[in-house]
């Protein structure tokens, strides 16, 4: 009996084109778009500014400064039209004797550049200007005292020699693909609500559930027979999304997804996540009066879970208060678990907390759904 119910559920989902679109095409397209769109934001490459240099002074000093800047990897020299920063050394800039009205370097910045980037740019440029000025002072001092000149010459602006930087925790930051794939696996899995509620509410409205009940099929069997196929569907969904991240995304000049953690952990976490998504979907399907109502409520709930849980905006971009709030969303638990596996090389133990939370959440939702369905069957649905 049970195998027949599972087979029926599979056939109904596989013949529902809209459901397949929502479960497989939608998240796959999102992974592709978001990975490509955000590859620069999540890039771990060294910071580089597109800069154009204009030397109107043509003095020895500006010539040295321009060459020095060109050697710095932080500055990517481009044509004036393509530059985000244009540095102009005006005529007389190299006249160091002029201390009353010294000329300033002019920097013009493209309007879209963020203020924090401008600050970093200013600090980088300042480094070169100070270095140049120290070199001039050293030259002047050498005429009077070699000792003083050497003291100035020994001043270093290299950050490595000025301070030691150490991370408290060895945590990796995801690239665009590592962020997009888990995000849309989690979000896509919760879209199980569409086929589940449509099939379930049709069964209720057409009195098929009553008919099954009249054939001694219990509420427990009805719900259990729905859980099993959707667990398989969720697994297929997860692996399709992983495949998109590993094999399709690189075609768009975007880093491929790498699974650094254990496959068993991935299966266990996605199983727990699917139980959670199935639990919420069943609860909505049992209570909704129409499939339109179920998909609307399900859609709103998914978006809320997603917005709070770090699907729309990654959690590490959120302020601390929002990061704490994110922990109420099951999508956040799933997302943290996937990032643990993809990024930190996590195993089953490292995703145990997230998985257990998801299993408990889904389990409670399923038990409540069974109780409500049983009550509804007794009342004649």
């Amino acid at each position: 009996m049970f195998s027949a119910m599972i087979k029926k559920e599979f056939l109904l989902v596989l013949r529902d084109k809209q459901a397949l679109m929502a479960l497989f095409i939608m998240p796959a397209v999102f992974i592709l778009i978001m990975s490509v769109a955000m590859k620069d934001i999540f890039s771990q490459k060294a910071l580089s500014f597109d800069v154009a240099l204009v030397d109107q002074d043509k003095s020895e000093i500006t010539n040295t400064l321009v060459n020095d800047i060109k050697k710095d990897k932080a500055f990517h020299i481009v044509k004036k039209d393509d530059a985000k920063f244009v540095i102009t050394f005006p005529k007389g800039y190299g006249d160091i004797e002029n201390t009353t009205t010294p000329k300033k370097a002019q920097i013009s910045v493209q309007g879209s550049v963020k203020s924090d980037m401008i600050e970093i740019f200013k600090a980088k440029l300042m480094n070169h200007i100070v270095k140049m000025k120290l070199s001039v002072i050293k030259e002047k001092l050498s005429e009077f005292s070699d000792e003083a000149a050497n003291a100035v010459g020994s001043v270093t602006l290299a950050t490595k020699e000025l301070f030691a930087l150490k991370y408290n925790k060895q945590e990796k930051v995801p690239n665009a693909t590592q962020q997009s794939v888990p995000t849309w696996i989690v979000f896509g899995m919760f879209f199980i609500i569409i086929p589940m509620s449509t099939i379930f509410i049709n069964e209720r409205k057409q009195h098929t559930l009553s008919r099954l009940s009249s054939m001694n099929v219990s509420a427990f069997s009805m719900i259990l027979s729905k859980i099993v196929p959707y667990i398989f569907i969720a697994q297929i969904q997860m692996w399709v999304m992983v495949a998109v991240g590993m094999f399709l995304v690189p075609y768009f000049d975007t880093p491929a997804l790498e699974i650094n953690g254990s496959i068993a952990a991935l299966v266990f976490l996605s199983f727990s996540l699917s139980i959670s998504a199935i639990g919420v979907s069943t609860l909505i399907a049992v209570n909704a009066t129409s499939s339109e109502q179920a998909t609307t409520i399900g859609g709103i709930l998914n978006i809320l879970f997603g917005a709070i849980g770090g699907v729309m905006v990654p959690k590490f971009f959120m302020p601390e208060m929002m990061q704490k709030l994110a922990n109420i969303s099951p999508m956040s638990w799933g997302l943290d678990g996937f990032l643990d596996i993809f990024l930190q090389g996590g195993d089953i133990l490292s995703v145990m907390n997230e998985s257990l939370a998801l299993l408990c959440f889904g389990g409670v939702a399923l038990i409540v759904s069974m109780i409500l369905l049983r009550k509804r069957i007794e009342e004649g649905l």
């Binding site: 009996m1 029926k8 057409q206 008919r211 099954l212 054939m215």
Partner: protein, 236 residues
């Protein structure tokens, strides 16, 4: 024999069945008549073990409905007014699914297909069937468990006269197989055509029961006239 004795069923303040009592003979076709909201569907649902009732007693072929619900469900079948099957599955997939649910034998499966003339359309998706074919599939599913009693809840609603006659003929076949049929319909000519006995209910109470011929033959009337007289006098 199916015995219903003083059954009360309430939905909140509303008494859907108000001390209803009736008897249905084994192997007969029993017509259950009543206006909309009279309590027919509620009674069928209770007789099939789907809904509970507040008080009274019901016995189906010697089985107590409260104690032997599971067994009663095994020997009963309800053909709901709605087309209670899966439109996205083929006729065969639907029949196989419901057959497996009820552990039906191949013999029962073949019989349900044959009686309802479904052999030629087995591979067709249920959504593509005509109204009459859908009704026949709905009925065939109800035959899979080889029931001793079948409850038909207005099975001919919205179908053409030809399909209706085919369904009525198939119901007569069930009687030949020894199956008890409880049949509700708004079409009096259907009831006159196939039923042996009739019960008329109004406001959750039985207002008349007896053999079809005896009920109105002496009054030189039709079942429809008799039904209207009875239900109108009840409403007054």
């Amino acid at each position: 024999m199916i015995k219903v004795c003083n059954v009360v069923k309430r939905y909140g303040e509303l008494k859907a069945l108000d001390g209803l009592s009736l008897e249905i003979k084994k192997g007969s076709i029993f017509g259950l008549l009543g206006v909309n909201g009279a309590g027919k569907s509620t009674l069928l649902s209770i007789l099939n073990g789907l809904s509970r009732f507040d008080s009274g007693e019901i016995e189906v072929f010697g089985l107590d409905i409260k104690k032997d619900t599971k067994k009663i469900k095994e020997i009963s079948s309800i053909i709901p007014q709605n087309l209670a099957f899966y439109e996205k599955l083929t006729v065969k997939e639907n029949l196989e699914f419901f057959a497996k649910i009820q552990h039906a034998t191949q013999e029962n499966y073949d019989k349900a297909v044959e009686i309802n003339a479904l052999k030629k359309i087995l591979d067709q998706r249920a959504s593509t069937l005509s109204g009459g074919q859908k009704r026949r599939l709905n009925i065939a599913i109800g035959l899979l468990n080889d029931p001793e009693v079948i409850y038909f809840d207005e099975p001919t609603v919205g179908i053409d006269p030809k399909s209706r006659n085919e369904i009525l003929d198939s119901i007569k076949e069930y009687k030949k197989l020894g199956i008890t049929v409880v049949y509700t319909s708004h079409y009096m000519n259907e009831v006159e055509k196939i039923c042996d006995d009739v019960g008329i209910i109004s406001h959750g109470k039985l207002i008349e029961q007896g053999e079809l011929k005896q009920l109105f033959s002496s009054k030189n009337s039709t079942l429809e006239k008799h039904f209207l007289e009875l239900t109108e006098s009840e409403n007054v």
